[in-house]
């Protein structure tokens, strides 16, 4: 019997999808993804109920998920990132069962070990052949790396490939092989190419972000890392990208031959590869089309799985080889704990993604953030949610100065020697308060748990309450 189904409905019926099962999705189409919505819409039409959605990330484009939760089609949600549209609804208590947050590394660890069981994985595939040999590199919805989809494909009971670009068998440059795929269905479009390039990957223009970026690059340099063999990751946030730009200038000026760039990859990292700053890119996720093109064409640009990226169960990972990372924060507290899950009101606005994984593994973790956002201090006494434990954070870089974690005593003198504005994190806390006024104490009533934040090894690290 052919794997190819005429309609998504047929695929879901042949997959034997039942009430109460767990269905999974990857997020490589980012805010342009159509697949999660189309599957849930069909599930609702089929009268299915009590599904658990296990998605590597949930974006604002997945807003229809709220309605499916309200109608009982979906009653469970496990993810690594939940942007504010669905996040706010969850914080307001739309789900009875708490959301389960894992990191980008512990999600594949739990899937591969069998701790997380997936009944049906729906893989958005920008290109596939009729047997399910599929790739993210080709087709009108090309998203590049399929890094977060591998574990789902390996372990789900049933794997359904959903594509809008059916290619001749065999698709030789396939990332996921037919041996793992049960069913294939072609739809009109799996995503909106414009949404695949998220707005978060644009270079900032405001002087505060640029100042932070410059300081972050100077701090990495002061730590002695910008030398031959250097490896580097940035998040997709503006300050991170601007920091990469400063790192690039320093590398080129001194003809530093770095090793590799890691992570969610942007065109800026591709430029650095092409300029000789790095010899390789290890790419678990493409953030823009230049990264997609590079992954397709440049053999130095390697697609890696989420397990290869940062799973704590892997025998080693790309993250464990990394020298420095620049990450963001919604809040950071006096113990350097970072919150990337909730805003200052306690509403869910994100999740750790790979933040927690890489911060733990890397040589130097730099959190780059403005001291305030919308007149709210970033530096606080205690973060509302511990996303990444302070023990994994080495430096906080703000536009007013840099604080080093006392757990890394060698950093402060190194920064001072380089003439950088070193502050105690308490000074930054006080400065923030003097600018913004005393922080209104925010602590949602601890009545109902909206989400459980699991640490890298599955331990319950924090709880997020409904607001």
């Amino acid at each position: 019997m052919s794997k190819l189904c005429g309609t998504l409905r047929e695929a879901m019926e042949r997959a034997g999808l039942e009430n109460g099962q767990t269905i999974s999705f990857h997020h490589h189409l980012r805010n342009g993804d159509f697949v999660l919505n189309m599957v849930l819409e069909e599930a609702a039409a089929m009268g299915l109920r009590d599904l658990t959605v296990c998605a590597s990330s949930v974006f604002d484009c997945h807003r229809p998920l709220i309605g499916h939760i309200q109608r009982g089609v979906v009653t469970g949600l496990e993810t690594s990132y939940l942007s504010s549209a669905v996040g706010r609804a969850v914080s307001q208590g739309v789900l009875d069962r708490p959301v389960v947050f894992r990191t980008h590394g512990s999600r594949p660890a739990d899937i591969l070990s069998g701790k997380t069981h997936i009944d049906v994985a729906f893989l958005a595939a920008p290109a596939s052949d009729c047997e399910g040999n599929c790739s993210g590199k080709y087709g009108p919805s090309a998203c590049g790396s399929l890094g977060y989809a591998f574990a789902d494909a390996q372990k789900a009971d049933t794997v359904v490939v959903i594509t809008d670009c059916l290619q001749d068998y065999p698709l030789t440059d396939a990332s996921i092989g037919e041996e793992l795929v049960d069913l294939v269905v072609k739809v009109d479009a799996i995503g909106d190419p414009a949404g695949i390039v998220s707005g978060t990957t644009r270079m900032p223009r405001d002087p505060v972000a640029l100042r932070i970026a410059e300081l972050a690059a100077q701090a990495i340099d002061a730590a002695g890392l910008i030398k031959d063999g250097f490896s580097f990751q940035t998040g997709a946030g503006g300050a991170s990208l601007a920091a990469a730009e400063h790192v690039r200038r320093r590398m080129l000026e001194r003809k530093v031959r770095g090793s590799f760039a890691l992570g969610g990859i942007t065109g800026y990292m591709v430029d650095m590869l092409q300029a000789g700053c790095f010899q390789a890119i290890q790419d678990v996720q493409c953030f823009d089309l230049k990264a997609v093109q590079s992954l397709r064409e440049d053999p130095r640009h390697r697609e890696i799985t989420a397990a290869q990226y940062a799973s704590p169960a892997s025998k080693s990972t790309a993250a464990s080889h990394l020298d420095a990372v620049v990450l963001g924060a919604a809040q950071i507290d006096l113990d350097f704990n970072v919150n990337v899950h909730t805003d200052s009101d306690g509403c869910i606005i994100g999740g750790s993604g790979g933040h927690t994984d890489v911060a733990e593994e890397v040589g130097l973790t730099v959190v780059a953030a403005p001291l305030s956002r919308a007149r709210m201090s970033i530096v606080v006494d205690k973060v509302l949610t511990v996303s990444t434990p302070g023990s994994s954070i080495d430096l906080l870089v703000t536009q007013y100065g840099i604080a080093a974690n006392p757990g890394r005593p060698e950093l402060r003198p190194a920064l001072q020697k380089a003439g950088l504005p070193v502050k105690d994190i308490r000074e930054l806390r006080e400065l923030a308060e003097s600018i913004n006024g005393p922080a209104a104490p925010c602590q949602p009533p601890r009545e109902r748990v909206a989400a459980r934040v699991l640490g890298r090894r599955g331990e319950e690290q924090d709880l997020i309450y409904t607001v």
Copy 2:
């Protein structure tokens, strides 16, 4: 702690190798492999005993294995192919426990399901970085595809990469990733490049082989398969290669645009790709250096795992998409059962490799063999060992004519219509006897089992007795 070990001994000690454990090897270095021997020599020096060797194939270069068996270092052997040097010793009873023969497809099926447990996998890697990201495509011992090594890497408790070409981290074009690798050791040489190109892959010159090859190609054509979309596999034997040459001529003459070539890949298949006969190659094993080069350089030439090639546990395989295969036989009987395990004396000289897998999956299985070898008939009343059941064999092509399996009644009239010399297999049997004289009845005394031949799904298909 670094994965990199200074010596093989250190790697084996750190791997915690113990008496009674199972160690695995792949055979991509074919008759040039040094790795199996060096590991066993070190195991003997360490005083280890009772090891089980789980090797995808064993070649004549592994003759030292006999001594390790005699001294009790190795007491178990599981493989898919055992060439005559070690095969003869096994047939003479050197091992107390019977050898376990699996097919190339059922070996990864049993490893991935956990039925076969590997304590330590030793992966010969022509190129690796310090974390074990490794490839068969580069380095002085390049062997191309690592198809048979993937399951071992995925499931062994401990994975040791042995390389003679250590590359900078990260090796971006890696086939097996660091997340699976525990230890890496660099040695002077993992193999003899000359031995990687086996003598079996040379085009034959004798007129009998060429006649058989021509008839095989004509038979495939008569079955209506040589048309656009055609997919094809040959074994590495001379007659198979010559058949490929005839298929190629027919494809080029009629401008047939085939789909893919599969299997152990030779330069002849690469030529056909380059000539436009095929759009892709799916390569589980390279038989010569031209295949290695093509795999490295041509994106249409895809490395596949043994599970992707032909595992009966896979959701689909390349083999299940295949139109025609030309395979060899040591014996074939009146029920079309094929023996590729033992010679006419009952001594072990091979094993099914992928023969049994592909024969079951493919559209048309052609066995091409001379009617006699060394004055012994190939066609016999009953094969000494059932390697591939007759239900999987469609045609026997000899220099004297072609016999079609009555289970495929449409084939005989198609061959006749094409003017081909169709015979009943009994006629061929009689002809062989009239040429060679009546076959000396050979049946080793059924006293001691030398090997168990498992079918594709793990069932005991036949037993091989000591001679």
